[in-house]
Structures are given as structure tokens and as C-alpha cells.
Symmetry: C2
Subunit: 564 residues, 2 copies
């Protein structure tokens, strides 16, 4: 069947021009652009007064961060005009390894939003991490045969690259030898170290926060991904990249995106809209988010409105506000007048689904597991939260273990525990944290970068054990517990990271869980689950807790609780 889209103003992403033109589609592809008539088609849509542009491509996202399965993510993102994403399943890979990758490929098969994958390069992310799996070069290679796998995911261990780590270099070389893309992650790296990192074969970066930092990378051949997600928001600082000559080597990405933000704020459309509101040409944003993303990742005949190109198209009511009206995926309308048209879920292989949904391997815990065998007063290394930031400070604090086993909730000092939950090793890292606002009860979560062990914070060991056990029963999730009662919970049974629910349900559940923190005394606006998600990641300064205990991030070594 031939479809004619007539009288729309077509955004030409090759030249940046806008021209009223007719577009003829058939069999999922664009047949022609130009002087076509109704007689050429079986169906005609009149787009007078509207714009036609290619579907948006998010060049770097962790779908797990949306807490949604790929199909539900697609349902949330499609109405915002996203027709493809390049996803890095780094989180599920840390939990489930290759099975997690196979699951993500299957769970995204045949969706009207194309999910391309980059295979995670750094599993585990550091030597301190006790992950559910380890991906070596030989585990990664077979995935490169899959047509939706585009390369190697963000190479975060940039010190290892710069210092010539052979294992990591092999992973990079394997991907490059196949002509595939290698994503970077190296915030603030500059000069000679950046040269070494790029020369090792890293093609891009999404961690730039400053325009000059980004320009250095472009001048040195990298592509810069302008990231505007839920947590990290770099658009403001990188606005100068929307100008000549830099925009030609930039993409738009979200990296991490929470469900409510995706539903309400938008996706790539929102980045273009925000840039337009700051005076940047929306056509420039569209070029970055379409053809440039496709060409950077080596996707052929995707990302433009031209003969032979895949018919992934958006009808916009307005260009400045990027108001997405209709979305065509491979020539089929999937969003009509802003409304998503239904599509079936992919059929999941029970083998991968059971591996992913049975990711918890740990024994039940009791309050004893959260007690420290110490008496009297000791000077301890306490994790000090810094308002509004993911980095922490090491605070030396005199702790009286004879009172509440050292906790002092009245003075904002509670316990934190990180429990190994992949291989039932029984490893538990225990410590103290200040600045959470917790006065009573406990909160627990299985979203805890990058190993996604079980993290618990609380003012009461009984509640900590209860919350931890509850998460284990759920097979993953978030829970807020007081007096051995669950105040709110959000099950995340898929690898302890994703829900089977829709984006709307996920957003509501997530909202309830966050609100229920008030019942523990946590002030509104403190994003405690975000704090928990990063309190165990030993690459963010200055002190973090792992299953093996406290890590001095700056010195990259384990340190004892007692500072004496």
C-alpha cells in the first residue's frame, strides 16, 4: 500500500532546509520526495500547516533506569517521537550477565520503537564490585552477530584505558575490528590523557558538562552526546554546541530517564524544545537527533526523509515546541493525533525471563545481621551526604556503640548496609551515614549502581532486616518500612531493576514510595532513593559502601569503619 503525505513542510536533515513537499511511502520505506500526487497513492494524508521530520533517536540510554521493560518504555517514548534508541544494558548485565543481554534483545524484538544495544564494556565496573556476572571479551563477542547490536557500551574505566589495560583494550579492539562503535565515558578528561583515551578507540562521550570540554573532544575526533536526562542535565552548559561548526558532530541523549519525567517532561523532543526555548534552531536539534545519530552508529538509510530511507517519520503541529502529532514507524502509523496505537508485547523466552526474574540469591536476614560487634566509643568513618549531589564526604565521627549500636537518628546518623544478593556469599558491608533525614524505620532498594546489590538505610535494625527481606521476597524493588510494616513498595522483579507495569503505574508507584519516606522523617525533596542508588558506586568521590565494606574512592582502596 502506498501512502502519500502531502503538503507538509519537510525538514531536510542533510541541508537543514525546510520545504513544502510530498512524500510517498510504501512497504516501510520512503519511495520519493517531491512532486507526487494523490493518484500515486492508495491513501493520502493532508499535512498542510504541519511539519514532517524523521523520528528521533536517543543515542545513549539505560532503559533499566526508566524501571520499565522495553515494550513499556516504547509505549512511553513513542508519543514523544522517539522511534529508536541506542541502549546500553549495563545495569541488567551487572545482575544477569549474558542472560540479561539476551533478555533485553528478546524483550525489545519487533517493537515499533527500535532498540539497538551496545554491549556493556565494564561489568563489573570496579574491582570492589561484587556483581551477578562478569563480562569478558569472549562473552561479549557473540552478541556482535546480532543485527541490533551496534558496538561496545560506555568505557567507564578510563583510567584503565589510559594506563593500557590489556583486557579492556581487547574489548575495544574486538568491536572496532568489526567496524562497530565504542562509546566513551570520561568526564573532565583533557589533554594528553584524553588523547590516549581517544587513541585507544573511544568514539564519543556523553559526560561533558562544559562547552570547552566538549569542543576539545570534537576537535580531537570524538562525537559529543549532549545529555539531558533526569539526573544529569548538561544542556545548559552545552548550548554553544548547537552552533556551527560543532553541531555536526553532536547527538542528543538522555542516559538516565525516570518514568514520571519521561511521561511528563518528554524525551528527545524535550531536549530540542528546551534548546529552542533558549534560542537554538529546532532544525539543528532535529539533525543531531536523527541523521547524525544514525550515521554515527553506522545505521544505513535511517534518520532522514529521502528515497530509500526507512519511513520513521514524525508529524509535528509546531516546530518550536516540537509538538508531536503522529508517529510513523517503518511506514506504519503508531501514534495518531498524540495517541499511542496498541501493539503486542514481544514473546519472551521463559529461559531468559526466569533467569532475569530469579536474580535474588541470598538468605533471609535478621536484625543481628545489621549489628556491629563493637562496644564503647570509637571514631568511625561516616559517609556524609552532600545536599543535591551524588558525591559524599568522609566524616570522622565519635560513635557510642553502647547506645542503639551506634545509631543516633536524632542527630541524623543512621546505618547503611550493602548486602551481596547475587551469589549468596553472605557478604554485608555495614556502616554509618549522615544527612539522610531518616528518624525511624528503614528504606531498602535493589537499584544500587553498578552491581545492584541490596542497599538498606535505617534507624532500626529490625526494620532494616524487614525491608531487606521484603525486597528479597519481591525479587527486587524499593520498600519503605516502619515498625515492621511496609509503608510503600515498588516491585522491580526484572533483575531487581524493572517492573512489568506500565510507565503510568510505575510513575505512581515510584511517587508513592518516595512520598512514604516522609513517614521515616525524611524531608520532602531529598531524593533518598537516588542517594541509595549511588551510595554503593565506588567511582564517585569520596567514600562509598560496598558489600566488602567502605571504599576510599580517591585512593581506590577498602578502608575500615574505625578511623582509629
Amino acid at each position: 500500500m502506498r501512502t502519500l503525505l502531502k503538503n507538509g513542510t519537510v525538514i531536510n536533515v542533510f541541508t537543514g532546509e525546510k520545504e513544502q513537499s510530498q512524500v510517498l511511502l510504501e512497504d516501510g520505506r520512503i519511495l520519493g520526495v517531491g512532486d507526487y500526487q494523490e493518484a500515486d497513492a492508495d491513501v493520502t494524508e493532508d499535512l498542510s500547516g504541519k511539519y514532517l521530520c524523521p523520528g528521533f533517536i536517543d543515542g545513549h540510554i539505560h532503559i533499566e533506569s526508566t524501571m520499565l521493560l522495553p515494550a513499556e518504555f516504547a509505549r512511553a517514548a513513542l508519543p514523544h517521537g522517539t522511534t529508536a534508541v541506542v541502549a546500553d544494558p549495563h545495569e541488567i548485565a551487572n545482575v544477569c550477565g549474558s542472560a540479561g543481554l539476551s533478555f533485553m534483545l528478546e524483550a525489545s524484538e519487533g517493537l515499533p520503537l527500535e532498540v539497538y544495544l551496545m554491549i556493556p564494556s565494564c561489568v563489573p565496573a570496579t574491582e570492589f564490585d561484587e556483581t551477578g556476572a562478569c563480562l569478558e571479551a569472549e562473552d561479549i563477542a557473540p552478541f556482535y552477530e546480532h543485527p541490533r547490536v551496534l558496538g561496545l557500551g560506555e568505557v567507564m574505566s578510563y583510567h584503565a584505558v589510559v594506563n593500557g589495560d590489556a583486557g579492556l583494550q581487547k574489548k575495544i579492539d574486538d568491536a572496532r575490528r568489526r567496524g562497530l562503535t565504542v562509546n566513551g565515558h570520561a568526564p573532565l578528561l583533557t589533554g594528553r590523557e584524553l588523547d590516549r583515551y581517544i587513541a585507544a578507540g573511544i568514539g564519543d562521550d556523553h559526560e561533558c558538562s562544559l562547552a570547552e570540554e566538549a569542543k576539545e573532544r570534537i576537535r580531537k575526533g570524538q562525537w559529543v552526546m549532549i545529555r539531558q536526562g533526569t539526573a544529569a542535565r548538561n544542556l545548559e552548559g552545552l548550548l554553544p554546541l548547537f552552533d556551527e561548526p560543532f553541531f555536526h558532530r553532536c547527538l542528543l541523549v538522555t542516559d538516565d530517564k525516570h518514568p514520571a519525567d519521561l511521561l511528563e517532561g518528554g524525551h528527545i523532543d524535550d531536549i530540542i524544545r528546551q534548546a529552542a526555548a533558549r534560542g537554538k534552531d529546532p532544525v539543528t536539534g532535529i539533525r543531531m537527533a536523527t541523521l547524525q545519530a544514525a550515521e554515527y552508529f553506522g545505521l544505513k538509510r535511517v534518520g532522514a526523509i529521502a528515497p530509500g530511507y526507512q519511513a520513521d517519520l514524525l508529524v509535528l503541529d509546531d516546530l518550536e515546541t516540537v509538538a508531536v502529532r503522529d508517529v510513523y514507524k517503518k511506514g506504519k502509523k503508531v501514534v495518531s493525533a498524540g495517541k499511542l496505537l496498541p501493539f503486542p508485547n514481544p514473546v519472551l523466552n521463559p529461559k531468559w525471563e526466569s533467569a532475569v526474574c530469579g536474580s535474588f540469591h541470598m538468605d533471609r536476614l535478621s536484625s543481628k545481621d545489621f549489628r556491629l560487634e563493637l562496644e564503647g566509643i570509637h571514631c568511625c568513618r561516616v559517609i556524609g551526604l552532600v545536599e543535591g549531589q551524588l558525591l559524599t564526604e568522609e566524616v570522622p565521627r565519635e560513635i557510642d556503640f553502647d547506645s542503639q549500636n551506634g545509631m543516633d537518628p536524632e542527630n541524623d546518623l543512621v546505618k547503611i548496609a550493602v548486602i551481596e544478593r547475587h551469589s549468596n556469599t553472605g557478604h554485608i558491608g555495614l556502616g554509618f551515614i549522615q544527612g539522610t533525614g531518616i528518624r525511624q524505620g528503614a528504606a531498602a532498594a535493589s537499584v544500587s549502581h553498578d552491581s545492584h546489590n541490596l542497599i538498606v538505610m535505617g534507624a532500626d535494625e529490625e526494620d532494616m532486616a524487614f525491608a531487606a527481606n521484603r525486597i528479597c521476597e519481591l525479587g527486587g524493588g524499593m520498600a519503605v518500612v516502619r515498625d515492621k510494616k511496609v509503608l510503600a513498595e515498588m516491585p522491580l522483579p526484572y533483575a531487581g531493576l524493572m517492573t512489568g507495569a506500565s510507565a503510568g503505574e510505575a510513575a505512581s508507584q515510584n511517587e508513592l514510595v518516595r512520598e512514604s519516606l516522609g513517614g521515616l522523617g525524611v524531608p520532602e525533596g531529598k531524593e533518598l532513593f537516588m542517594t541509595m542508588a549511588f551510595a554503593s558506586l565506588p567511582v564517585i568521590p569520596h567514600i562509598k559502601l560496598t558489600t566488602r565494606g567502605l571504599v576510599d574512592v580517591d585512593r581506590q582502596r577498602l578502608v575500615p569503619l574505625l578511623a582509629e
Copy 2:
């Protein structure tokens, strides 16, 4: 060994910026660009006052047209800053088929000028051609495994593509499925037909002569190769493509380049220079001829001065005149202060060399073979040359066969013969041609597009036979004969297309052959060998001669000599 190139002004092809910077090389690659010092290197070169840019890439050339073997071509092109070419061995493939392709790959192995190949798509070019070989999809596919093969050569049969020819589409699809490039050739195609041609999978065109023609292609996703060769010179008409936004989707190519023109005029450097003389930024030309060419053809880490990139570099004394001083190929200096440094010839496999050098298969001819068995006066279809053009006119002319078997040199009417020389079929096409200027003797050549059969023109059947036999003895070449004596000759023993001599010798020999045409009465300035090279190509209007006889090009059919 580490080399520091210091204080040069580096052309940044990612941004178009010029900046004085230090460049550090090692093992054929660029280690870094920026703040490096002499202490970082074993050797330092001071480039104060000079420019540093990536080596030039010719995106489309037929090396056979230079009449040089790849090594000699490299010796002529390197001093002009060419460090890579994408060659389409269409000519040798028409003569020697797969053996010719293998020969070209071997004859270009390990040269300090990288020769990438596109595998010819249209062998034979038309149904009228009697070629030495026929390349089907299954003959082409094995060559895609070679690391220097980048795709499918120019798809000239655009009518076949537009009309859905299955065999040709299979060749295109085979290349695309492998992620390879497919070159186009479709002069003046526009609108719906162009859409169909592009949608079939054709990525570029080098036949544009008008800026609007080129812009339509860019808007529709093709890359435009701005061609400025010896015969076809499109720079003037395409100068507007040097401006935003079009230059981002353009390359610079020569297509056909004769040895004297290559030596004296230059190569890609000359295109940039000519554009600069017409007010276009040489940096724009450099960007088209380096990074853009590399990226279009999917060459990774080639075409820029950036960390990890192959160290193919030029030192320019001056930017506007593109005065190439030094050339580095893979970090090694190959041209120093304008002088080529010696390098060895590739070792040739005797199997391919003997196939290529034994390409003539025909019996000796006598004057009888050039006589028409006709008596009296007949109206004949005469090929009428048009001054300065490759197209011809069909001229009906009363011919008296009782006088000189129809020839009338006094009135500029001589004979033309095209002799099948690949398979000894004995096929000879015989006809009349006017406008050559030949008054006596004969000229013969084995360079005769695209089948490269033996073509002879002359005012005397004895001399025609003598000249034809002489070319056969030489195994190919050009010869000018009068009274059964060779006035001048140029042997082209490699497939009847290329000499083993250097560019300088080839240019001198070619000059002598062309000058000797004066001995036949041909006025100076008439490029008779160029005329002969295209007099047998049944795709250029309006009438051509093949081994099977006259072809009415417009109607694409054989027509008899007698117009009665």
C-alpha cells in the same frame, strides 16, 4: 620511534578551524595533538609557518585512464598530496574480468598510496559490448572479503536500475547487505526517476555538471562527487557546492586523469587550488577531500589529524596554492621537500600478470578485412564527429564504393573498424567516419571504452591492417602508421590499457603518438585518440560502432551500414 611535528598550523577537518599545534606520531598513527614537547619525541620537525593537513583521498578514479600501473600512478600522485584513492577498475575488468581485479589488488599492495577498490558493477556495460569478461553478482561477491574493497563500482546502467533489473539490483543489495558503498553514475537524472535510482541503493553521483542537479541529489541523501578530471571538468559548474550547507555532503574526485595532466596539473590538490582561485576556502576543499571521503566510504580513523588516526599527513608551504612540501603515509615520510622518496614495486603473481599481459586473442588481419563487399553508389550511415565533443551525429552520405572502396579522404571521409580482440571471434564492425582529419595512413588503439576492443581509423586498408596487427603484436597500445611504417607507438601491454613505464615516460610517449597524427593530416588540437576511445561506447549519443556493427544509441539497436 616518536616524531613530533611542531609549530605547524593544523587544519582541523572536524571543525574547519586552523590552529597552531604540536602533533605527535608513533607507529604510523597520531598519538596526540596539542601541548607536546621535543622531550616527548625521538625526532622533531619544525613546521613554523607551514600548514599541516590530512592526506588527500580521490573518491573516484579509474587508474587505467592514467595508463599507469598502480605503483607508477602512486609515484605521480603522491607528490601532489594524494595518500589514498578509491579506484574503480572498470576498464581492466572489461578486458580481464576477475583476473584483472586480482591483478589490480596485487599491483597496489603495500604502496605508500592506499588503493581502495570498488568492484565494477556493469561488465559488460551494454548488451552490444563484446567484452573479455562478464562479472555477475557471484563473481563480485568474493572480492568483498578483501580489506581494500569498499563496495560496488559506479552503477552506470541507470535505466536498468530504474526499471527494476533484478540482476543489477542483486549486485546492489549484496554490497549493501555487507554495509558497503554503492557508487552511482546517472547524469541529469531527476525527479521520480532519480528517486527510484536512489531508493535502489545508490549512494552517490560523480556525473553532476549543474549545481541544481547536485543539490537535488544532496537533498535526497546522495553524496556528490565534484569531478574535475582530464576529460570531464565539472568544478566551475559545481562551485556553489563549496558553500554551506552543501559541502558537508561532497567529495572531490578526478574520475579520469591522463598522465601529463597528472604530472603537470596535479591531482586533488589542483581541484582545491582551482576552487581557491575562484574564492572558495581551501579548508572546505580539504575537508571534502579528507575526512568526508573517509567517512563516506566507511574508512575508520583515516582523513583527520586527531588521536588514533592513521598518520597520513601533508605539510603545505601555502594553503591557497596547496603547495605540498612533505607527505607522510602511515607516519613515514614519502615525499620530502617536494621530492618523492623511492619505494619498491609490489611483487606480482605471474598468474595474474600473464593473464593481464596476454589479453589479445585475435588472428592477424589483412587489408581485405577492412574492405566492404559493395559496388556502386549507396547511401550509408556515416559517423559524424562533433568538434570538441564525445557525442556523434548520424550523417547519411552517398558513398561510391567503386572508388577507394568508398573512402574519400580528400573530403574527410575515412574508414573505422572495431575488431573483437578478446575471444578471437573474428567479429569486425566496419563503417565510415567523417571529421577525423585523416588524409592518409591509419591510427589504431586498444583503449576503446568500455569493452576495449581494437579500434582503427584510416584512409588506407593496408595501413589499417598494419596498425591493427602492430597493436596486437604489442599486446595493446596506440599506434600511428603511414605507408606501412610506424610513425609513433605507445605500448600498453597491461590489458591493452596500461604501460609499465613511469608517468613521465608515459606522458612523453603519449605526446609523441598524439603529435604523429599530424603525419596523417590530422590538424593539431584534434584529440583523435580521445575520439577513438569513445567511438565504440554505445551509451553516448547518437551513433557508435561496435564489433557487431553500428549502434543507434538513441534507439539502443544495431543498424545496418546502408541507409537505403
